[in-house]
């Protein structure tokens, strides 16, 4: 009885201290995690709001792009500045352009380009734009004025080409009774191509819309004359060598 009274008295004496300890424990054990949770949720709310804003902006940008127009632009860009080595298009364009200017086209020599260099560049990470070129040479023969017209036209056709070197020589045709002057042009040309980006990036990454300057640049694509490329579609050989 005495000890019970004694413990009651101790409790009464230490009541204040016990309550103070309880409040500290309550703050640390209960309120602490609740506050941390609120802080985390508020932080994710901010992040989610930012993400929602970005995605909304992206959706608005994408919805504003005219599908038909962008499709046309991609096709034109691919014709003028292709993603792969434009060998077939080049041959077709050159033969048609020479045909249009009444010239004889031939003597094509292609330089396939060094794959090692590309690989080395990729390893070093020095290629920022991944722009590649294909150098080749060819001959066109015919009237001098036609050759000049051909040369002028050459840099205005798709795919994009740059005349690197030119040599003109005059040849006479001894088979003809009337001496006809045949001018032969030895032309070295570089054509350019660039592989497309490998990835699109994350879904939340913004879409860069075209500036006015870039729009004007794209409009210049239309100034490049495109010749239709005829690619053989027939079966050209055995498909299975073991049959």
């Amino acid at each position: 009885m005495v000890s019970n009274n004694q413990s009651k008295s101790i409790f009464k004496d230490k009541q204040l201290l016990i309550l103070a300890v309880m409040s500290v424990v309550m703050v640390i054990v209960v309120l602490g995690p609740v506050l941390t949770q609120l802080k985390t949720r508020l932080s994710s709310k901010k992040k989610l709001a930012e993400q929602l804003g970005q995605l909304n902006e992206k959706l608005t940008s994408l919805s504003g792009i005219e599908p038909v127009l962008i499709d046309e632009r991609v096709k034109k860009m691919e014709a003028v500045f292709p993603s792969q080595k434009p060998i077939v298009q080049l041959m077709s364009t050159l033969s048609k352009l020479s045909e249009q200017n009444n010239l004889i086209f031939g003597g094509v020599s292609l330089q396939p380009g060094s794959l090692e260099e590309e690989a080395a560049k990729t390893k070093k990470g020095k290629t920022s734009t991944d722009l590649r070129d294909l150098r080749f040479g060819f001959q066109v023969g015919g009237d001098f004025d036609d050759i000049l017209n051909f040369m002028k036209g050459l840099e205005n056709v798709a795919p994009l080409m740059k005349i690197e070197k030119i040599g003109l020589s005059i040849k006479t045709n001894p088979l003809l009774s009337v001496k006809t002057t045949l001018v032969v042009a030895d032309v070295q040309v570089a054509a350019f191509y660039q592989p497309p980006p490998k990835t699109l990036g994350s879904i939340s990454s913004p879409v860069k819309l075209l500036s006015r300057q870039e729009e004007a640049l794209l409009n210049k694509l239309t100034s490049f004359k495109t010749f239709e490329t005829v690619v053989p579609v027939g079966q050209t050989g055995k498909q299975n060598l073991f049959e």
């Binding site: 204040l16 709310k45 992206k58 991609v74 740059k162 005349i163 040599g167 497309p196 075209l210």
Partner: protein, 186 residues
Amino acid sequence: MEIDLFGQQVKKLARKQKAKRMALQLLIFLLLILAIAMIAISGTSLLVAKENQKTEDKIGLIKTKIDDLREIESKQVYLNSKLNSFESLLITHEKHQGVAEAVFNLIPSGTTLKGFDVSEDGVITLAGSVPNWEVLSQLLANVRGNKSGLMQIKEAKVKKIVFSQIGSDISFDISLVLSVNSAVNG
């Protein structure tokens, strides 16, 4: 006469008890406030969680819509990736075109051109041969009179003219420096 033997001690004790009581009340009050704050914080936290869930749902919906427009996005990314290189190519292309056009306009019919090289400092070396004096004088007149087109001749130097034999070709070596025609470019 009343004698207060513990008057001072009783007063002291009473003050101490009063202070204790007040401290206790204050502590209880604080605990109450803490409890209310905890309830409020938990409630807010729950509300924020609910809002976050709603935003996540919205994000999911928008992502689906963006996924549907993935084809357009890929085309836009393709155009953007190509435009940087294309712009620089087009600038050099236009200059080069101007140079080529200027050179072609110089050459009179009958000229055999061995080649034309453009050095890094923009000097064009034209080397070739002409069948007779008339064509050569026409070529030189063209060099002198070149004022139109995107590029015009800023400086011309005839480095070599060789008359080897009577009736044979006359070979020449001319170096030219072209500049952008400000009259054409505005």
